[in-house]
Symmetry: C2
Amino acid sequence: MLEKNYIPPHAALQLLLDALANLPLRSEKLELDAAFRRVLAEDVVSSEDLPGFARSTVDGFAVQASFTFGAREQMPAYLTLAPEVLMGESPSFTLQHGQAAPVPTGGMLPGGADAVVMLEDCQRVSDTTIEVMRAVAPAENVVQRDEDIHRGELVLERGQRLRPQDVGALAGLGIESVEVYERPVVAIISTGDEVIPLGLPVRPGQVRDINSFTLRGLIQQQGAIPVCRGIVRDDYEAIRRAVSEALAASDMVLIIGGTSAGVRDMSASIIDSFGAPGVLFHGVAVKPGKPMIGGIIGKKPILGLPGHPAAMAISHALFIRPLIDLLHGAYRKVCFPRTVSALMAKAVSSAAGREDHIRVRLEMCDEVHYAVPVLGKSGLISTLVRADGTVTIAAPKLGLDADEPVSVNLFEA
Amino acid sequence: MLEKNYIPPHAALQLLLDALANLPLRSEKLELDAAFRRVLAEDVVSSEDLPGFARSTVDGFAVQASFTFGAREQMPAYLTLAPEVLMGESPSFTLQHGQAAPVPTGGMLPGGADAVVMLEDCQRVSDTTIEVMRAVAPAENVVQRDEDIHRGELVLERGQRLRPQDVGALAGLGIESVEVYERPVVAIISTGDEVIPLGLPVRPGQVRDINSFTLRGLIQQQGAIPVCRGIVRDDYEAIRRAVSEALAASDMVLIIGGTSAGVRDMSASIIDSFGAPGVLFHGVAVKPGKPMIGGIIGKKPILGLPGHPAAMAISHALFIRPLIDLLHGAYRKVCFPRTVSALMAKAVSSAAGREDHIRVRLEMCDEVHYAVPVLGKSGLISTLVRADGTVTIAAPKLGLDADEPVSVNLFEA
């Protein structure tokens, strides 16, 4: 396959997403405490008004606004004191013509009141009377019953990942549990005769397993469940058995490694051996990350990922992240990229026809962020450690100039 | 206190940070699996070279580069086949003059080899001989021993929050456990005679506890441990007892609520009752969030937070987040804000002399993000649910124009 015929990354992803469209997802009922960051599997409609009563937003006096019309410092309105509104209690009285009831911030307005005059705009002139030195309009300094959320309102939509304030809103409505999608389980199979698990001694020619640690963190970050299924040697039957077992116990399978051509071809033929559709693409017009394989076994996505750490990080951003969102029911929501605007600190070149992802370190100079390219081969984990994120060079572009404005896609902790 | 004398938020935060400077932090040793997102309490220096040997970055033939000099398609260099390098093994032979050893991607270079010719630039002409059709320079297609990380190199610094790739690098170096700072414990005390816990019926005049749910999520997001210490009624002795118990069991205390002036003053005098330094500021030139109180009891920060949900979210961004980073040992690292560049969809005004935080919803139109102000009082949780983030208007500015470029600080899930 010629490099110029490699599929662009967005088209490759779309092949996978199309093959997985309308996938049925499992859901579970969770108490609010446990629902933070989970994805809603139901629309949430309020069964009550929030607040359930008109509340004051200031410390002051609940009044009928019309009795304050025209009031000013030189010509105050005189109102008669009604009983005090107590915090958390429903006033047992109704405001009569020309009355004013002391009310704290958050206190409930008594019947008959439609506004609140701020404490600092009033003066007590006797035990029974206050002067109001500023007129208020009806509804002024009041949160109306149902002003926050009204009964029957769609509060949160299916597919929303619950943020702190979303859980707060559910609590405010008295909703104690919600239906959320189950967290997708992502199996990680490391391959390579040279790869040694952490904790064992390495001999010359051998390297420790870096990628399954990095990938586990990336998958956890997104709220999915990574399951490392060990290191399998470069053997067709051994890898096929590992894939078969992983498929039975997960929602997506990642095969890491196989950077040499022979092993890559083996991964592809193993994926195809499970039947159609099998491999959807083999090789993507992106650097680093070119040797990626994407396929479907049954209704589960399976990716063959290059073993180079930087390539794997890009494959994660381009493929694994959106696939996990899909499997988690969160894909339909708009996603805002976590980016920082910066200027390129120096020019970088790029081959036409492939999307380039440049690792960069951010440096601040005179209040401006500069993106400094982190040089080094994509097989070096240190290039990712030294970098704060990546800059994407679109396929037709031949590079970036020094001082060219760019968006840096940040690596997250 | 006059509004114009309120302290600017950055100065208020600095008072707290200065009072907490050089705070000793507790740390613990954790296995790598558990260390993701934790903050390093030690500098990590590599005790070995990564990789420990020169590796090929391509499938090809390990050679002495000088034997390929001048080689091209019309005039290839002829090399004699040496034994094959096997993946994960140390070659038992040394390359002789004019030899080429087949090597897979990631394979170890045999002694005597200093470069690798790519497979596609070679042709096998007999059982013992290959043609090399392209010259390679010394070190070409090779990752040198220690090229990724060298022995004695400072790999990660104290104060670094461990990202997926950082944990990967530690694994690559065979480091099985690291010293990380303990996660700060943040106590949340909700106050208010009108506040009812989730699960109990609410009567007119009462509202459910929203803020402790929102705040718990925000604190968890950052890797700290929120501990909700229940709802305390607006009573000096009851709140003082709750504060005293919370201080003994946490690293920071947050008192939520007390939006009415009387209760605010009570919170301030409770903080002062524990002795100097006590309250450092009371009222901040920011909207929403003005009635904030910041203080120190012993060496622990304590904040009095307004009970309005939107005000609390801003207080979190301006004060709680940086304080948690400080208590977690992560404050000294540069932090890149999670922002999206957008244009204001409509003009908004702001009072001079206070920093305004406008909630906005992001809408995409013709590939441009527009920030649409979400209107509504700061007491409404729905304004946070409908918003994607906030736009800050600096204190001296009188507002933002329509189409003015802004950075939207994103709410996170």
